[in-house]
Each structure stands twice: as C-alpha cells, then as structure tokens.
Amino acid sequence: MNFATILQEFFSVLIGIIFALTGIKALKDEGAQKKVTTVAFWFILAFTFICGYWLPRWITGLAIVLMAVLTGIKGVVQSASDVPDHAEVRANADKFGYKIFIPAFIIALGSVVLTTLGASVPALSWLTSNNSICIGGLLGLLVVLLMTKAPVKYSVIDGTRLMDNVGVTGILPQLLSALGALFTAAGVGDVIAKGVSAIIPEGSKLIACIVYCVAMALFTIIMGNGFAAFSVITVGIGIPFLISQGCNPIVVGALGLTAGYCGTLCTPMAANFNIMPAALLEVKNKYTIIKSQVPVAIVMLIIHIILMYIFA
C-alpha cells in the first residue's frame, strides 16, 4: 500500500463518517418518518465506505442489495435538519459580502493546483486527482471556518444537511459504474456493439461519432437520466467504436456525457428540470420549458459531434 492509497482510504473513511452522521441525524430526530429504514440505509452505506476495502467483496455486494431494498420500499427519507434562519443568513451575507465565495473557489482552484503539482513533482505523486479533490474540500472548509469564525459543529450540521438534500441519489454515479462493470462481465457491451456494427461502416469515425452522441441523447431522452445512459452507451458504443479504434478516451468521455445532457433538455422524463419548474413558474403549457430548449439542444448536439470528430 503506497501513500496515495493510504490517503485515499483515509478520505473514504471520512466520507463514511459523513454518511454515518447523516444516519445519526435521522436517529436523533424525534419526529422522523421511517426512522429505522433511513438510519439503516446510511449506516450500511457508511459501513461499505469505512470497512468495505478490508473485507471480502461479496459483503459489499450484499450491502448494495440491502440498500436497494431499503430505497425500493421507499424507506429512506430526509430527517429534520437545522436549516439556517433567513434573518441570520441575511445578516451574515451583509457582514461578509462577496468574500463568502472565496472558500468555494478554493475547493475548485485548490483541486486543480494540487493535482497539477502532483502530476509534475515526483515527490508529490500522492496528490492524485482524487486526493486533490478531497484536500481541496477540506482546505475550503478550513478557510470558511477561519473566515467566518463559525463553530466547528456547523461542518457537521451543514454537511449532513446538504448530504440529506442530495439524498440516496448521491451514490447513483458509483452504482452506475458498478452496473457498467456487471454489464461488461456479462457481455452486454458486446451484444450492443454487434447490433450497432450493422450501422457503423468499418473505420468511419464520423458515423461512429454521430451514432455515439445521438445514442447518448436518445437514451437520455428515454430514461431521463444522462448518467445511466452514459454507462450503457459508453460500454456498448463509445468504447468499441471510438476509444478502441484509437480515439482519445478523455475527449470521448467528457463530450459523451454532455451530449447526453442535450437529450435531458428535450425530455419530460427529466421532470425535475423540465416539468416541475414549469409548474413552479405557473406557465400555461407544461412543455413550455422543453419547447424553449429543443432548438438549443439540437445545435449543441451537432457541436458535440463536430468537436468529437475533430479532437477525439
């Protein structure tokens, strides 16, 4: 185990602790709904982050199935959070002004600076991209605590409040890459690839780019979720027809997901972005937002294809 891995495990434990604290928040909430299942979900998730690495993998597999059952029976809900009161926030805003943006910038810029250092100074090679993000997050926290002189307990109170807001879908990206791994092990990618090879003439990069980007958008339209489309379509189309043919995986991956977002703009399935806001804004036609977005989505999708063709 090298230092980079030790650090990464350390951060995993920290993340696990945040999950556990979110569970404890639910446990302490007197009026909590579905308390037992909610607490169980957060504790099981915390367990996989803290202990999973050291145990046989099937135990984590089993934990995932348990968590899926808990969310499947709609057993995981938000517990009460200490939401800052409006007057307090307004007074803070007037006191600190635009300085309050500094900690957030430190997270983003700090991650970039640290990872660049790690890539260029051999002695700092433990500053991997992933470790840099974590250190950036902690650095931002340190700065905001020093700047506002906020009691340290707020890092728990506000951290778990946001964690609860993000909710169970926070682990979706991680779960989807696990799904991608299962799909690959089961040979799903090969089946899709075989089907698609009928429409992609061998060696035609342009058509491969078009098929991949359009498939990303279409799958996202059907599923309403670009993340899920990404793991299926990238394994089935992006890798065999683009990356394995010598295209740059960075460009294909980065453009692939946002190509999917062009689909998100066009689908009522992405209700929280396109339909619920329509109700919130009290428009006459609930498809008003989608109508406004479709032309932009089409233009953006074409630009994705062109960029991928030129740079991948």
Partner: protein
C-alpha cells in the same frame, strides 16, 4: 440467445419510465443481467461489490459538502442574488443571458445556487418580465410563457453544460470511474479540462439565443399592438 443479455437495459428503461426507485432499478438490472449471463449469485455479488469499492471515488463530492453548507449559512446565495439584482437597464434577453453566464460560472465551481425555486422564480423571471413590460406595457400570457420558458432553460443550460468543469462533480467522477473500470486510465483533471470547451460554447449559443428571445418578444408585442 445473446439478445437476452439486454434485459438489464430494458429493466433500466422501464424502471425509469415508470418512476420506480432509481437505486433499486439499477441494482435489479445488474442482478438480472448477471443471472441471465450465467453468473453465480456469489460471482454477481463479488463483481458488484468489487466495482463499488473501487469506484468509491465517484462519491468524493461528499467531502465538499461541509464547506459549501457553511458558505450557504453565511450568505452564499444571498450574495449571488444581490449581484444579479444590481444589474440595471437590461433587456429581457440580456437578463436571461446574464443569469445563464452566472449559472455557468457557478456550476463550474460547484456552487449550488438553488435553481428554479430559489433563483429563477423569485428573481430572474420578475426581472426579465419587468424589462419587457417596461418596454411593451402589460404582457400577454403567451409572452410571459416565452419569457418564463427561456428563463428556466437558462438555468438548465448553465447547470448541465458547465458542471463537469469541476473536478469533484459527480458527472466528472462518473466519466472517470466508468472509463477506469473499463481499463482506460483517465483522471478527473483531464475530464474537467475537456469539459471546458462545451461550457464556453454553451454560453455563446445562449447569447445568440437571448438575442432571438428579445426579437421574438418584440415581434409578439408588435403584432399585439397592431391588432389593437
């Protein structure tokens, strides 16, 4: 029967379409796919668990939450609102475009501004409609629909096309973990870097779009006053 292996994809599509629980749908799709492909339950659990442990990095964004949460308590959103309110003498399209630009920048730095409920409805829509009614008098429902649709859309453009510019964004980490899982060594910094061009282009497209919105409202209001 190779094609039966696609049953997992079908489960995901149906599960999402019928709004079943997302996590349960994804796990079920994985389990069923493994079973029809002839994997033993133990193999399936091992594959699932192994990948989940390796890809814990896709959930690193959690470590940014305490900092962002405290920033919110100390007025992050309020100051963003103050900034937008300080814009004077803008047209409808200009207000919407400025919001998209700010939303793009904030998404790239992973700031959570609150989206439609906390920003678009209380601030952007009144400002955009105010700019139009100052010019054309009272607006019709068709006109406010155009303005509200475009305002909500600006939020989505900024959010979607710029979020991956942040190394710790969950989308960025999903791309990294999916590719690494498939054997391609990419880093979050590389993916975030290659997400910048689309973010910049989306702002340019948004600018053109905002000019079109202004001229559309101008045309609608013109037709209305002719009819009167």
């Amino acid at each position: 029967m190779e094609i039966i292996k696609l049953i997992g994809v079908v489960i995901v599509i149906i599960g999402f379409a019928l709004k079943f629980d997302t996590i349960a749908t994804v796990v079920l799709a994985g389990l069923v796919t493994g079973l029809v492909a002839g994997m033993s339950p133990m193999e399936i659990l091992n594959t699932l668990g192994d990948s989940f442990i390796k890809q814990r990095t896709a959930t690193l964004f959690v470590l940014t939450l305490p900092c962002i949460g405290i920033c919110e308590r100390y007025g992050l959103k309020e100051k963003a609102i103050d900034f937008i309110r300080s814009i004077k003498n803008a047209t409808t399209g200009r207000v919407i475009f400025l919001y998209q630009a700010i939303r793009t920048a904030s998404a790239a730095f992973s700031l959570r501004l609150g989206g439609h409920p906390q920003f678009v409805r209380p601030i952007i829509v009144p400002m955009a409609e105010g700019a139009a009614s100052a010019k054309y008098g009272e607006l019709t429902e068709e006109e406010t629909d155009v303005i509200r649709g475009a305002s909500a859309a600006a939020e989505n453009y900024g959010n979607f096309y710029a979020q991956n510019c942040f190394m710790g964004a969950s989308g960025t980490l999903l791309i990294v973990s999916t590719l690494v899982e498939q054997g391609f060594e990419v880093t979050a910094a590389q993916i975030a870097g290659w997400s910048i061009p689309i973010a910049v282009i989306s702002v340019v497209v948004g600018f053109i779009r905002s000019i079109m919105i202004d001229s559309k409202i101008n045309k609608m209001a013109g037709e209305r006053s002719e009819a009167e």
